[in-house]
Structure formats: C-alpha cells, structure tokens
Symmetry: C2
Subunit: 257 residues, 2 copies
Amino acid sequence: MPSKRFFLPASRSEDLMKLDEIEVGPDMYNHMIKSMRMQKGDCCLLLDGRGHQGKVRIEEIDRDRESAVLKVINTEDAAGEPDTEIFIAQALAKKKKVETVIQKSTEIGARGFYPFSSRHAVVKLKADRVDKRLDRWRKIIREAARQSERGIRPDIFRPIDLDGLMDLSRDFEVVLLARAREARHTIKELSREKVVRKGRKILLIIGPEGGLAEKEIEKLISLKNCYDISLGPRILRTETAGPVLSGIILHEVGEMQ
Amino acid sequence: MPSKRFFLPASRSEDLMKLDEIEVGPDMYNHMIKSMRMQKGDCCLLLDGRGHQGKVRIEEIDRDRESAVLKVINTEDAAGEPDTEIFIAQALAKKKKVETVIQKSTEIGARGFYPFSSRHAVVKLKADRVDKRLDRWRKIIREAARQSERGIRPDIFRPIDLDGLMDLSRDFEVVLLARAREARHTIKELSREKVVRKGRKILLIIGPEGGLAEKEIEKLISLKNCYDISLGPRILRTETAGPVLSGIILHEVGEMQ
C-alpha cells in the first residue's frame, strides 16, 4: 500500500471505481507535486471521498497548467469506513472544544456533524461568522480523515436550533441523547435489545457545557426513536462525550477491531 | 448533594470516613472562602482523594490564620471511582497532546499515568524541565478530577524509558499495547476470555506519533502478560488512543453506565 494518501477535492464527484485515469488541477497539483515533491512514475493512494480508494501512478505532469494525469492501477472499497453511521449533533461550545469533537470523532469513525444552538450554550455563533467557521471545520475534518485513513470525508452542516434538531432526529433510525445524570438507558442494554446495532444510522446528541435545559430534554425524549443514555458516574466535558461515545458504540457493534 | 466540590490537598492524608471535623489551612481557605465566597454554615462536598467523600459544613472561619473548621455531616465511598484500575503509559509527545491525554482520560476514569520516552518520539523532555512539567500535569489532573466528580486524583509519575516500562509492566495483571496495524488481539476477545475484566489492574501502552519501533514492540509483547490490541482500520492519533481505549475498556467491564 503506498504510504502517501490524497483525497480528491470535495468539488470532484468522480467514482474512482469507474475510471482508468483522472486529471487533477492546481489544488491537487500543488499538494502532490509541489509540497510532497512527487514525480512522474510515483505512486500514491487516492480516495474519492465516496468510499473508494485506489493505487494511482503519476503519468503526466503539466507544470504550466498545474495539472497532472493519474493512472488508476487498482481500486477497492476504502478500508476505514464503518458500516454504522454515527452523526454527532454537538451543542455549540467554545471554538477549541468543537474542533476537538470533530477532529477526534473523525479519527474514530463518525460520519458527520450537526452543530446546534441550545438554551444554556455559552457560545452563540453569529450568522456572518458561520461560513468562515464551516470552512475551518471542513479543513480540520479533511485533515483528520486523511491522517486516520478514512474512506470518506465526514460532513459538517450549518448550525441548527432545537426545532431543527427535532426535525433532523426524525430522519434517523436511532437517536441517543447523552445525559450526565438520570438517564434511563445504557449502550449495553440498547445493544442487547438490537436498538444499537451494526449498520444503523445513529444520531448522537451532546449537550453544551451547562447541560441541556429540562424542557429541551423533555422535547427530545418525547421522540419515539430517542433514548437518553448514561455515561456512568463520571461527568464528561462536552468535548469528551462525543468522541468517547462514538468509540464505545463502534466497539459495541464490532467496528473498532 | 451539595453542588460545590473540593478535594483535600494532596499533602493531607486524612481518611474522611474517620473524622468528625477537619481543619483546613490557607490553600483551601482561599479556595472556599475567598474565591467561592462560602460562609459559616454553608455546606459542600469534600473528597479526601482516597476514595471517600462527605458532606461538610463550615463551622468556624478564622480570617487571621486563614483557616476554617469543617464539620463532617456524612460520608460515603466516592461515586466516581471505577473498580477497574487503568493506568496509561503514554509515549512523550507534544505538550498539548500529553495534556489532552491526561485531562480526557481522567474524566473518563483512568487511575494514573506513566509518561515514557521511546525511539521514535518527537519529543524528549529535558531533565531540568521534568519537575515543572509534572506540576502542570498534576494541576490539569486535579482540575479534571474535580470537574468530572472523581473520588481520587489520578497519579502521574516521572517519565521512564523502555526498560523502566518493561519493569513496570511486570507489576500489572494485564498489559495492553495499542497497535495501529497487525495486532493479534481485540478488547472484545480479551473480555470474552476474562483477561480484561472488572476489578483488574491494567496498563495501557500508547506509542508516540511515529509509532513504537519494531524492536520496542517485540520486547513488550515478549512479556507474558502483554497483549497487543487493535483499534480497527482507522488510525488514531497518539492523543486520541488513550482516552478512547480507556472508555471502551470501562464500557466493556460495565463501568461506563
């Protein structure tokens, strides 16, 4: 397996499985040829971000047009993708904390992220800051996906409010709401009952530092597919809960081994 | 349960279970009376750092001597302590990364930390920096222990080298060596075989960013009680592995619910 790994840019929608060769433009040219100093004939692993990866060889380099032609040698399903799709709905928190959640959870195997605003959240994200913040979050996710050898780049969506979160929850098979105290369910029990199982599409809701308001919790657990879960007697910070719960769920369904 | 929580300083060795009242000096006086503005008659939760906690009430405040007398109202075993003792041997890495490991793993329930130097480690800690770094690490652990409602403050020890790590490993019932690839065991399998089980004293070895050298791995897995374990197809950063594995182990033995 070549040690250098590249993702096709998010703007490209090619399916690597269906290509013999692929031409890449200035963004990848700069990364592969200028930064990584790859040369004609060198091989690397290319991921299409759609769950496929392949060994490719540099066939042509056009320095004027800043482009390169890559010959696809072989392709396969990317190894780093779990069948179980965990999306994390993370309450907005201080910048560094959200960044920790998305970086670590991407490494562990989360499929995507929905930031949301809640009553007790310390941080409110101003509308004019959202695009800039999304760009930064996407960059962190892309880099974590590359390093951890994911097959796709997890998605991150625009921040939503509690109503948006309620609507979103209806699209998932299972919604798990992390609670510091008084939770009625555990991952082990939900796993025994096959509520949490391999291949499911799971939304994991993580409250803010101050916790969700009682009314917010009531609303969410009134949803038919929502289970409030305990993480035990130790109180995890908001940025710790998502990565650790993702790891525990993927372990439980047999996708961390 | 009172919402304010305090640990007795590490220098105090009292067993809260055996006391009717306790006098605290300037360090706690400053924290309780000056910073938190508590007054005579106020109650709080006091942890002795030995696994016990109790509700105490401020009986006397002596502003000249900067001391206070606390009446012990009731005591119990601290709720936040798992029976399973996980110690993390963490390869030295960049400052922030080690801090992430000890902060997050303390929240999750690790019992202590052994930093160690290895061949491929990017960071070597100079001897004259060790004491300062230990002080900082202890402060991070203490704060994480308090916030996460642990019953004890996890320990952190002076950095050791690979020989020190080999010696240390012999004192543990089980040693788990996290490997990115080619591991022969999984936590699930070790749990089925009762190698990983509730109440055990486990050493978890996490290599540096560059990975452990082959020779280092060979030495460690030659130990009778050492099992190299896989974390699945996604490659976790050095600072992600310890917290996530601690969470998975505590989940597996039933102490994250």
